[in-house]
């Protein structure tokens, strides 16, 4: 197929099918857009790079981008999930055939809600130190796995149908080698979800208490005790998405224009003539624009078939942008930032952004862990020694 044929086909298809969506939707739980997403999936536009066996069209990267752009131009969601859908990509790469057949089409259409069950109170940055256990149920009792443990920082747990879970399956080998990766059915006795109040006063995350919950045999992803490798694929997707997007102000009063909203605030505050303010505002806007330019360069390098090390920088860059943007907003507001509540949306935004910046600088791996990753995987520097890397997990000292 030529590029022009791809473009014509996708445009014709959109013209015939796309009628717009209900106005509001949630990002977790069963997606209210799923009827539309199922159509996109069945037409092969959801994952155009994938094989035809798996709802794809086997298009080249460039042609797939044509599809994505046509969807974006029409304002239609659902295309390009082969780059953005963490759940479907992980399942396609690692799930058993039997489970894949069931779950992949549902994931592409947003018919199942998902959550991530990685972090534990005692295993944050050192994720391989998890203590949630998965014990084999004897074949005589039907097989599968029994899970017991506690997870934290789980978005969407209350409405999720499945959680992507890492649990320890072998306690007698070093910590990275005894972990397995599961799709845990969330709607069962033994899975208790409790909201977690954050420093922003929101409860976006949950704690999940798991007591003798059951996972069927088919829901094991990747090899038994090979879960660490599966997790790495999944985390790579998450990081690249986090570097690209970050949540804006709570009230939206700062405007959705991102780069220029600081400029607007400076103007409103009557401080655009203050030379110190001008320097601060220009620098923060510059960091945001530089991050976009980096991302664009990375994508261009990838499109030319080269690997790109720039992609891994986005999350670290975004941390600085968010913390600094909040600082400069506060500087612009001055004493107004002592207040909050709906009558003071600008102050509420600045304060919310200052607190919520940690979502990016701690979540998905702290900036410090991110620097380790960049130093080791991108720049090729030697690894930080880990004293427990070769010790059987049973013997590892826990905090």
């Amino acid at each position: 197929m030529t590029d022009d044929e791809v473009l014509r086909e996708v445009q014709d298809w959109l013209a015939a099918h796309w009628k717009g969506l209900p106005a509001h939707h949630e990002s977790f739980g069963r997606d209210p857009r799923s009827e539309w997403l199922a159509q996109v999936r069945d037409a092969g536009w959801a994952v155009p790079r994938w094989s035809r066996d798996w709802y794809g069209r086997e298009l080249s990267n460039d042609q797939a981008r044509i599809v994505e752009r046509a969807f974006a131009a029409a304002g239609a969601p659902g295309a390009g999930q082969d780059r953005s859908n963490l759940w479907a990509n992980t399942a396609l790469a690692h799930a058993t055939d039997a489970f894949k057949r069931v779950i992949v089409p549902q994931l592409l259409a947003g018919e199942v809600g998902m959550c991530l069950l990685y972090s534990e109170p005692g295993a944050g940055s050192d994720l391989a130190a998890i203590r949630t256990r998965a014990d084999k149920v004897p074949e005589s009792e039907g097989g599968g796995w029994r899970i017991t443990g506690q997870k934290v920082w789980t978005s969407g747990a209350a409405v999720a149908d499945y959680g992507m879970l890492i649990a320890r399956t072998d306690w007698d080998v070093p910590k990275h080698r005894g972990i397995s990766f599961f799709f845990l059915p969330m709607k069962q006795d033994g899975v208790e979800v409790r909201p977690l109040r954050q420093i922003t006063d929101e409860a976006h995350f949950n704690e999940v208490f798991i007591t003798d919950a059951f996972v069927p045999e088919a829901n094991l992803l990747g090899p038994l005790n090979g879960g660490w490798g599966v997790l790495q694929t999944a985390l790579a997707y998450e990081r690249s998405v986090m570097g690209d997007n970050a949540r804006g102000p709570r009230s939206g009063a700062g405007g959705p224009k991102g780069d220029h909203s600081l400029l607007g605030l400076a103007r409103e505050a009557g401080k655009l003539d203050d030379p110190v303010v001008r320097q601060e505002v220009a620098q923060v806007i510059a960091w945001r624009v530089l991050n976009k330019l980096n991302t664009r360069r990375a994508k261009a390098e990838l499109a030319q078939g080269n690997s790109s090390s720039i992609m891994s920088l986005g999350k670290l860059a975004m941390s600085r942008i968010l913390h600094e943007e909040a600082r400069v907003r506060t500087l612009l507001l001055g004493a107004e930032s002592l207040l909050e509540g709906p009558e003071h949306p600008r102050a509420e935004d600045a304060n919310f952004l200052a607190l919520n910046a940690y979502f990016t600088s701690i979540g998905g791996g702290t900036d410090q862990i991110q620097r380790n990753i960049i130093g080791e995987r991108v720049l090729g520097l030697p690894r930080e020694p880990e004293v427990d890397r070769t010790v059987p997990f049973r013997e590892v000292r826990a905090g």
């Binding site: 780069d259 220029h260 400029l263 607007g264 655009l272 030379p275 001008r278 320097q279 505002v281 220009a282 620098q283 806007i285 510059a286 624009v289 530089l290 991050n291 330019l293 980096n294 664009r296 360069r297 030319q304 090390s309 720039i310 920088l313 670290l316 860059a317 410090q368 991110q370 620097r371 380790n372 960049i374 130093g375 080791e376 991108v378 720049l379 090729g380 520097l381 030697p382 690894r383 930080e384 020694p385």
Partner: protein, 349 residues
């Protein structure tokens, strides 16, 4: 302007890189910077044979007819190699002459036989110092910090209202420079001049100068980061490579972000210049301060990452620091460009 394919661009950059690796080694840089003139005609000849001084000069004037995008990429390599040659000077001079009636000077610049540079005189020049007045066909006064003036065959004047060619040789007073790989001089004019370009040409030449320098700064940042990472991987202390310590590793990761951001900014500005885009002004301003700041930070921290060895004259790290610190003051320092950046954004908003 000729448009090069991605492959041809890569080939161009590669051939410049190989030439510089061969003819502009650290030993060459030290030899040239210690020489009386700070200029090596043989190196300049080799670059001219490859068409480098005439890269952005139109084919009808003997150049390669390429644009800001190719120039920026070549300047990255010049930064990597710390090239001590009048490439920046000649490029700006050629841009100033491109549309005027002094096109007869361009073939000489393109083939390397004629070295030209530019005294920025408008509103005190970019340094805010100096005082050149062009009136009634005569120029009088002194321009400061003119690059390569002592070896130049002509020093053009870029004033607020246009470009001028002095008809008499000005008086050139070399300055004792911090970065010995880029010589500068004060230039005093006291006689008749010929108008060779309009205000738009001056504007275009300054934009090109800033983008070329930004590319050079991005190259400097990239090179010192490579150097530091290489060192951190092999230098052992406390029984392990220092690059395994988080304090060192984290510095390296931060410098990678700086260096890549500088490269993105310089390339983006070059693309906007080439396209004549309406966002040109903002993109050039962004590149000016982002690349200057990145080069200073990377060269500064590179010495810290190396430790004592880089505190010696024999180690090249200080040569890069000197280049970065000096370049960061040329054509206006970062605070000025940050302010201009915001002004450009205000105009676009």
């Amino acid at each position: 302007m000729t448009a090069l394919s991605h492959e041809d661009r890569a080939a161009l950059v590669d051939s410049v890189r190989r030439l510089l690796a061969d003819r502009c080694t650290e030993a060459d840089v030290r030899r040239i910077m210690d020489s009386e003139s700070g200029h090596d005609p043989a190196l300049w000849r080799a670059l001219a044979d490859m068409g480098v001084p005439g890269l952005t000069i139109a084919a009808e004037h003997g150049g390669a007819g390429l644009g800001p995008v190719e120039l920026e990429l070549v300047m990255e390599e010049a930064g990597v190699a710390l090239l001590p040659a009048p490439l920046l000077s000649c490029t700006i001079a050629a841009a100033l002459l491109a549309d005027g009636d002094a096109g007869d000077l361009l073939p000489g610049i393109a083939d390397g036989s004629f070295i030209a540079t530019v005294a920025f005189a408008g509103a005190g020049g970019w340094s805010g110092e100096g005082d050149v007045i062009v009136r009634g066909g005569r120029a009088t006064g002194t321009a400061r910090f003119v690059t390569d003036a002592a070896i130049a065959d002509a020093v053009l004047i870029a004033s607020d209202d246009g470009a001028y060619l002095p008809l008499h040789a000005p008086r050139v007073t070399p300055l004792p420079v911090f970065d010995r790989t880029r010589r500068m001089a004060d230039v005093t004019f006291y006689g008749e001049v010929r108008r060779v370009g309009d205000a738009a040409a001056v504007r275009r030449a300054l934009d090109l100068a800033v983008v070329a320098l930004a590319g050079e700064q991005a190259g400097v940042a990239r090179r010192v980061l490579e150097m530091s990472v290489g060192y951190a991987a092999e230098r052992h202390q406390f029984g392990r490579a220092i690059g395994s310590f988080q304090a060192v590793k984290h510095m390296a990761a931060d410098l990678l972000l700086e260096s890549e951001s500088a490269t993105s900014a310089a390339r983006d500005a070059a693309e906007h210049l080439a396209a004549g885009s309406g966002e040109r002004e903002a993109a050039v301003a962004l590149a000016a301060f982002a690349c200057a700041d990145a080069a200073v930070r990377c060269t500064k921290d590179a010495i810290q990452m190396h430790g004592g060895i880089a505190f010696t004259w024999a180690h090249p790290a200080h040569l890069y620091l000197r280049r970065a610190r000096s370049a960061a003051q040329m054509f206006g320092a970062s605070p000025l460009w940050r302010d201009r950046y915001l002004t450009a954004l205000e105009a676009m908003a």
